[in-house]
């Protein structure tokens, strides 16, 4: 019988951009058990809700993560608007959905680059991050910032994005699509990529359901759950929205789902730009608008990594009693533990990368 040993993995590791630690219990080269450990960068951002009023806190929420920063501001603003009973103009919903989809493209391109870098495909890494710059340039042109956009406020948007600019964004996305197709075709059809990803880190449909997994991690195992299909915000106005799924349940399936989601995000943006209404962009609620005492509200939105949960509780003052953000990665930790059971030690980095964990989001 092989002897068991424990190999510490992370929080500092060449392939891991995120501070997660794993105690890998191995028998020879096979992982028997993986115990995750986080908490290295806990910042107490949820606690800050007691020091910043509900209008100020949207800027804190954006700083939870550097990749899906807009999404966190959007989720927080939407939850607070629900708590206060504010209905935003439809244009606001459209602009938020457009920026959220741009964030999705940005996040997936960043992830694809990291994955390529993870198995030594460095030129692909460079191409992916070059394309990502296109999205960051769009953010800069439309919002003023490249990472922290600060355009989403409670009650609406800080400023409008005019129609000419939106059409320009669509043109740039057409160019991005052409270049992206070349990269993705190379990536998905490459034999060395397939040999590293196919059949590795398998999660069955039943396990994905049992472990309440979310996002492309779950969609790669055939779970057809996507909060956009519930029609929140402007997503309800889309003609045909179907979550992209794959049924293989391995690293390659998760990779394929994310690659396809970029095309889908471009199509969504173009459809929303064509339909965007002109009914104003709302504005900050007045100082007399306060959440009722003991009021609660939550929203669920689809972030690039999966479903995110935003919960707020009011106490009759301008400070909220509680803000809770449940990130997709928190929900996928259990799935990650399951996916690592029984795999080769050399495949651990690939499996973790295809789950695309964002520990900084999870730590808050």
């Amino acid at each position: 019988m092989a002897t068991r040993s424990v190999i510490p993995f992370g929080p500092q590791h060449p392939v891991l951009p995120e501070p997660v630690h794993l105690d890998l219990v191995v028998e020879d080269e096979r992982v028997v058990e993986a115990i995750p450990q986080i908490g290295f960068v806990h910042r107490g951002l949820e606690k800050l809700v007691q020091k910043r009023d509900y209008n100020q806190f949207v800027y804190v929420a954006e700083r939870v993560c550097g990749i899906c920063s807009f999404g966190h501001g959007y989720g927080y603003a939407a939850a607070t608007e629900k708590l206060l009973g504010i209905e935003v103009p439809r244009r606001v919903d459209y602009l938020r959905a457009i920026l959220e989809e741009l964030s999705r493209i940005h996040s997936h391109l960043l992830w694809l680059g990291l994955l390529a870098d993870g198995f030594g495909f460095e030129s692909l890494f460079n191409h992916c991050w070059r394309l990502r710059e296109t999205i960051l340039d769009i953010f800069q042109k439309t919002c003023g910032g490249r990472i922290i956009l600060s355009i989403c406020i409670v009650g609406g948007m800080a400023h409008d994005i005019d129609d000419a600019m939106l059409r320009e964004v669509c043109d740039e996305l057409d160019g991005l699509r052409r270049e992206y197709k070349i990269i993705v075709d190379t990536m998905l059809n490459d034999s060395s990529v397939r040999s590293r990803l196919c059949g590795v880190g398998y999660i069955s449909f039943e396990d994905a359901l049992e472990l309440s997994m979310v996002g492309p991690f779950a969609k790669g195992s055939g779970i057809e759950h996507d909060m956009r299909s519930t029609g929140f915000g402007a997503y309800g106005d889309l003609e045909h929205f179907q979550p992209i799924i794959a049924t293989e349940g391995d690293c390659y399936a998760r990779c394929k789902v994310r690659c396809e989601e970029v095309y889908q995000a471009i199509d969504i943006i173009k459809e929303l730009v064509a339909k965007i209404p002109h009914d104003g962009i709302g504005g900050k609620p007045g100082p007399k608008v306060l959440p009722p005492e003991n009021s609660r509200a939550h929203v669920l939105i689809e972030q690039p990594r999966g479903e995110a949960f935003y919960y707020v509780r009011g106490n009759g003052t301008k400070f909220l009693d509680r803000f809770r953000l449940r990130t997709p990665t928190s929900q996928n930790l259990a799935g990650m533990v399951r996916a690592l059971q029984g795999v080769d030690l050399a495949d651990v980095p690939m499996i973790i990368l295809t789950i695309d964990p964002c520990i900084s989001c999870t730590e808050r």
């Binding site: 450990q37 007691q50 929900q331 999870t362």
Partner: protein, 234 residues
Amino acid sequence: MYTTEFVDVPLIELLQRVQSLKHEGMRFVQLCAEFPESGIDLVYTFYDETRDNALNLCVSVPEGAEVPSIQGLYFAAFSYENEAHDLFGVNFINMKLDFGGHFFSLAETSPMTVITPEMKAEREKAAKLRAAKAAKEAKAAREAAEAKSAERALTEDRAAADAAAVAAVNEMAPAAKAAKPSEEERAAMMEAKLANMDPEKAAKVRAVLEAKKAKDAARAAAETPAADTAKEGE
């Protein structure tokens, strides 16, 4: 768009309730701890994919109470239970994966149960405002009640005074009617007075009275045809 529900559940029924949700095929979304004015509140969220409904079970946990772990039913809850333990000091029992308070590396225990000075000041201000508002409302209600009762009393007094005045007038009216002398009586009284007067003076008075009588009769005779003419004109 999905719907949202918040349901209060006693701590003792939590596990049973979660078990039934698991059998119904609900997906576990999250567990969140809160620190209201006293004790800890836990909010368990489940999602029903078939009805697009997010169900929140709200459980109040008294200080120091033990909370059964739901990791046996939903293993995904392990990170939330360990987080609630480290940040809020919630005491979970029967956890499958227990980090023993080392899930987060923290400088102090249960940091989320510390109320910030800003929040404390805001809560006190809100409590004072609530108390002042309640006192103002109570005062306004009291004053309104007093004004109403005073008005009622005044109305009753007025009604009583009016009734008394009407009664007095009614009582006085027959007497007044009785006291008023008729034409003949006045003439008789005048005759009695004249009889007691100096005859020369009495003669003068009689002459004046006769003249006045004649004048009144002439005026009356002059007014009667004018009224008849006016009627004819109409």
